[in-house]
Symmetry: C2
Subunit: 163 residues, 2 copies
């Protein structure tokens, strides 16, 4: 089981944008350079985050991306779901209904107990991700002893943000 690279990119880039001033945007090219990511594919990730309502996009010469709401209102689950989709990782194909002991479909009113158990575990995972916001991390980072990377990030942002 493997999460896509885009999740890591999305989390780090949203974290970066959380340090920017509200309403200011950063263009995709700058974002790609910041973490040395392939620009064409990164655009897909940014579009997914925009469609999901995590980011806002602004077209035009001074356009770019910014958080769609305040950092404390964006959770890790929001970003994860935006990139990966919200399908369960475990897919029940109802193999219990197959084979020599399989019964007619109407004999299975309740969900497969095995699938239900695994899905409950996935819910625990989602609950944890939903409990952490971008602000929770930025807040923790600024509490670390300088010179921290977040200060470099803020300096970098002053050169790459547009009104």
């Amino acid at each position: 089981m493997k999460a896509s690279q885009g999740v890591e990119w999305g989390l780090h880039l949203c974290m970066l944008l959380a340090f920017a001033e509200p309403h200011q945007t950063v263009d995709a090219t700058s974002l790609a350079e910041y973490h040395e990511l392939p620009l064409p594919y990164l655009r897909k990730i940014l579009q997914a985050l925009t469609r999901a309502g995590v980011l806002e996009s602004v077209a035009g010469p001074t356009g770019g991306y910014r958080l769609a709401r305040s950092a404390d209102q964006i959770t890790f689950l929001d970003i994860f779901s935006a990139v990966e989709g919200d399908q369960n990782a475990f897919r029940c194909t109802e193999i219990r209904q197959k084979g020599p002991t399989g019964l007619d479909q109407k004999c299975y009113p309740a969900a497969c107990a095995i699938a239900a158990t695994v899905w409950a575990a996935e819910q625990a995972w989602r609950d944890h991700l939903a409990g952490v916001s971008l602000f929770d991390i930025t807040d923790g980072l600024t509490a670390l002893a300088p010179p921290g990377q977040h200060e470099l990030a803020i300096t970098w942002l002053t050169k790459h943000t547009r009104a």
Copy 2:
């Protein structure tokens, strides 16, 4: 993010074997027929479960597979890890160290806060899976109103188990 089919197969087949008498084995061909699974690939899954110590294999004409220990000592996590491996789904590639604000590697004594957060969520998921054993499910199934599928399974087992 997607879990492999083998996990579903492993869970259902271990559940089936939990209904068998201790020391009795079921051969791979019968197991494949029970859920209409492709035999050659199923063998790989059974081998993985055996390597991980979830199942025991017996070679020879009356050979086959059986649980390596009692059903209450085998958790969903045991089976999941046996098939999927124990790597984290989220892979941190340390993109924080790359780009214009990247620092020398020795400047990063602590783990990436983003990766740590996601991995903590994965741990919550594992904790949940580790808290459910095969016995927990079989015990719940036999409490359901008959005629239940587990009774058909037990009948089927009497014709496909070997001493």
